[in-house]
């Protein structure tokens, strides 16, 4: 059996909206679950970078809300995380289960690309597999040959193909340092907040024209799928381009992350379902 890290998070009001566990909280606790797993079962995150010149960047994440759980429903969340290396060391995956009030509240899966640290001061890096020495420290069932699954493109295609387009919105932002991690690169766990701001702006601006948009601020998020192509860096300007769809009776949104600095303008795609 792949090894797990299990722990409790005593909850506070900042983990929740009036509707549910905040998606940022789920990603933040999941990233902490990664750190715990690395420390308990493999090599701690700081040592992975400092001694083995390896790290991970996030390529994608899936959040599924399984049942409604509010701040007053439990005193703590039970969190359980499993880490596996995929594609024989070229990818990695973390699965995290959140429970509270004796029921499963949410599942998170995060896909990583291992990187080789080129410069230990700035942490500039390039994609590269985990070393043979690191892989040898894992159990056999923690190193799989399979490539990672990619649910976002299929989900996006389904929504754009079968949904009725309602409205669009653009939300500009600057990546200030509170949205960054230790390398002055964006922190992936801030993406739900960035796209949430665009969704909320759209609901406030066009909710009278399309009442369904209000589901994006009045109903719980059910599913969140994200793929990231490249990172933003500190003080970089960016934009979320949001398109809202009616799919059956439900609201779904496709968000594109862009920037106007030289290079490609595609930074990520996120799909939300309410």
């Amino acid at each position: 059996m792949p090894r797990t890290s299990s722990f409790q998070v005593v909850t506070h009001t900042g983990h929740f909206s009036p509707l549910q566990l905040q998606p940022r909280a789920l990603l933040s606790i999941s990233f902490n679950a990664l750190s715990r797993w690395l420390k308990e079962h493999w090599v701690s995150f700081p040592r992975l970078i400092r001694e083995h010149r390896r790290s991970v960047v996030i390529m994608g994440a899936s959040l599924h809300y399984e049942s409604s759980l509010g701040f007053f429903d439990c005193d703590a969340l039970d969190v359980s995380a499993t880490f596996r290396v995929l594609k024989a060391g070229a990818r990695a995956q973390l699965d995290v289960a959140f429970s509270g009030d004796a029921k499963q509240a949410a599942r998170v899966r995060i896909q990583f690309c291992p990187v080789v640290i080129d410069d230990p001061v700035s942490l500039a890096a390039s994609p590269g597999p985990f070393s043979a020495d690191l892989l040898a420290r894992l159990h056999d069932d923690e190193v799989l040959p399979d490539p990672p699954e990619r649910p976002m493109p299929t989900f996006r295609e389904q929504i754009e193909g079968t949904g009725i387009k309602l409205a669009e919105h653009a939300h500009s932002f600057v990546l200030y340092r509170h949205l960054c991690e230790v390398a002055d690169q964006w922190a992936f766990l801030e993406v739900p907040g960035l796209v949430g701001a665009s969704r909320e702006g759209l609901a406030l601006e066009r909710g009278r024209d399309f009442p369904l948009l209000s589901d994006g601020i009045g109903k719980p998020l059910r599913r969140f799928e994200m793929e990231l192509m490249r990172p933003y860096f500190w003080l970089q300007p960016g934009q979320v381009i949001t398109t809202a769809y009616r799919v059956g009776d439900d609201l779904a949104l496709v968000h594109r992350l862009t920037s106007n600095i030289p290079g490609s303008e595609n930074y990520g795609v996120i799909v939300e379902q309410f």
Binding site: L123, A125, Q185, F233, W234, P262, G263
Partner: protein, 88 residues
């Protein structure tokens, strides 16, 4: 020419995001840049004095391969140095 660096390198340029330097090629400008910002030298250049492959260089918005830094540059040109990604 004017150099701009991505945000992860600002702490090595004394937080200047635009640095004006002289030089008639991009390469010459880079040498002036790391001379003006010595902390940036080991971040930008490897032990052989070459730009690390983790960075991308753009001249007036167009990608410039790292083996073509002898490209001529004029006073009003803008060179952007962007790190592809970091392992943070």
């Amino acid at each position: 020419m004017k150099f701009r660096v991505s945000g992860n390198m600002l702490r090595f340029t004394n937080f200047q995001d635009e640095i004006e330097v002289a030089g008639d090629t991009v390469e010459a400008g880079m040498q002036m840049l790391v001379g003006a910002c010595p902390q940036l030298r080991p971040i930008l250049l490897d032990g052989n004095g070459k730009v690390r492959s983790v960075h991308r260089v753009f001249l007036n918005g167009a990608a410039l391969p790292l083996d073509q830094l002898s490209e001529k540059a004029k006073a009003k040109d803008e060179v952007s140095i962007l790190t592809a990604l970091a392992g943070g």
